[in-house]
């Protein structure tokens, strides 16, 4: 193949090319603690089928995944574990808080429940519902893909440093 003909090549920015690859090959790690984990099973099941969105390679090791889906209530007892699992993930990494418990504690405003994952880890997307329907989570996945497309190539840490200094 030669590069003489314009049909044989495309030009793009490196950032766009990399993000295009990243957004269609998310490896989710379900941090499933409660009811939402059961709905997550439905999302990976053959009826809803998350693989249509390129995210079917579910990994249960944080070191092999780049999308943390927090599916379920996080208690204070669970919080240090969630933080450690997030830290074990390699860059680039994103977090979806699935359901109202992970987003804000939901209707568990009490002594045992962490009032949202963003109290301990940076969270990219919050999905409403108790639990969210599979369509709702898939919608969140598409929104995350759009977000990834617009992002730069800096790590989460660098992005937060920029945000903190401005």
């Amino acid at each position: 193949m030669t590069l003489d003909h314009p049909q044989n090549y495309v030009t793009t920015k490196l950032r766009q090319a990399i993000n295009w690859g990243r957004k269609y090959s998310l490896f989710p790690m379900p941090f499933g603690t409660a009811c939402c984990a059961i709905e997550f099973m439905g999302v990976v099941g053959s009826f809803s089928d998350i693989s249509r969105f390129g995210a079917e390679a579910v990994r249960f090791s944080p070191r092999q995944s780049d999308l943390l889906i927090v599916a379920g209530t996080i208690s204070y007892k669970q919080a240090p574990i969630l933080k450690r699992i997030y830290e074990q993930m390699a860059e680039p990494k994103w977090v979806i808080a699935m359901g109202v418990c992970a987003s804000s504690g939901g209707f568990y405003n009490n002594y045992g429940t962490l009032q949202g994952t963003d109290r301990v880890i940076p969270t990219d997307l919050y999905v409403a519902g108790c639990p969210p329907s599979p369509e709702n989570l898939l919608h969140a996945l598409v929104l995350l893909q759009n977000k990834i497309e617009r992002e730069g190539l800096e790590t989460v840490k660098e992005r937060h440093r920029v945000a903190a200094s401005t």
Binding site: T33, C35, I38, S46, G72, Y111, G112, T113, C130
Partner: protein, 571 residues
Amino acid sequence: MSRRALDRLAERFGPDVLETQSHLGDESVTVRRPALRSVLQFCRDDPQLHMHLLLDVVGVDYPGRPQRFDVVYILRSLSTRERVRVKVQVAEGEAVPSVSDLWYSANWAEREVYDLFGVRFDGHPDLRRILCHHEFQGHALRKDYPIERGQMCYTVEHLLSDAEIAHGRELVGSAAQGDAAEIKSDFLSVNIGPSHPATHGALRIEALLDGETIVHSKAEIGYLHRCFEKEAEDHTWTQIIPYTDRLNYVSALTNNVAYVLAVEKLLGIDVPERARVIRVIVAEMGRIMDHLVCVGANLVDIGALTNFWYFWNARERLYGVVERLCGIRLTTNYTRIGGLYRDLYEGFEQDLRDALEHVERAIQDVTGLVQRNRIFFDRTVGVGVVSAQDALDWGFTGPCLRACGVDYDVRKAFPYSGYEQYEFDIPVGENGDAYDRVLVRIEEMHQSIGILRQALGRLPDGPIQSADRRVAMPSKDEVYNSIEGMMNHFKLVFEGIQVPAGEGYGFTEGANGELGFFIVSDGSGRPYRIKVRPPCFPIFSAYTKMIQGQMLADAVAILGGLNIIAGELDR
């Protein structure tokens, strides 16, 4: 229910029995603290009482009383079908003698009372916090602990102590003759969970391994402690129903039914026949959905992934019916005290029959794949064997108990909602191993499908809500055109349902076993105390005993078959 058990206790213990009470078919006896242990031992060993099961140990806090706490032991005999509650009053700082050596099921139950109320148990082998984290200060279910005072946890506790890891060989003693001794290697400590694919929820186990064999292990729960019981004290009786969805979230419908039945027992109201039949229908749907996930997930754990998809697609079918009925797939909030949220929709019967056909086909496919499968045999037969005696001592109920050969099912032993009118069998196992637990669940699904078909056939017309004005909203016509109707409506909306003062224990057959609600009401619009008796709490407390001496991979195969649902385990 007769007062026979109470009379016998009063006769035997005389002045140590402070008070006896027969209320709502339950008998309760209050005893002096020093006599507690001998009373409980008598209850267990006396041939006329023979209380096999210690179902739960419950704490109740009365801050105004000099003896501030009640500790309630809920006992059950399988041979005489009698049930007794033994109560003891304890002041702040006093200790109660532990009975964890009489019933193993008391072990974790007492730890829970210690954790949430601060009542100490003398002679308990391992009195630590269980639901709250180790940095927690205070005792959460005391009335003076504010519900929203959260406490951050910054560290993770090690389960096995350094001494246990370093000196595991001396501690365990005889196990040192294995391969590890020969090649002079050390024991290895492995942490599993709380985020692990094999635990299916937030559980944690730390195991000490000799090669692949587990020589010692400890389990930890509480990672999903969402404070159901504290929340219940903060809400009206009706507002609690959505919280019950999230106890055993795999079969929320069954929980809804269990909770309202317990409250209705205290209120003393009956629901119309149509509502009773619909409750049986939804409860059995919940049971099938629960077993589909449990068996499917158990098979995934031992490498049979396909079966999970077969079962999950059948479950999706049932989800469709549930979503059309309740508006949501998982957290249904379907029952109401005195009736139901709404009637069946048009076409429900046909939808359910279609879904059941799919479930039957899925069961047929899965049994075809596993029932005579050599790999499945090797992984499950003779693995995690539990004797009937142990199962009762450990507080097992439900499919796990029946797999050990004990035919105890609340639906047959203490029928509710008209279960006595349905024809069904209780499948029992022989060996109490992982294989039996899977097959008992599969057979239970067949029985449930049979019950559902009978219920659909007999579904009568009529109202779905009791007309009792203590629980039922008046019609709009009455609200707008009569002063009584308006006041009735106002009081139900603003004050909620008023449950008469008293206490009671309502129990049903949940998907995992006996699901009980011990309720104390002070007559106000909110419960004074609700204690859930989750079936998988005692089951998981015995898990470390079941995996002792087994291979690590077998521990996974055993755990899947126990169907531990973190939501009801930690509440």
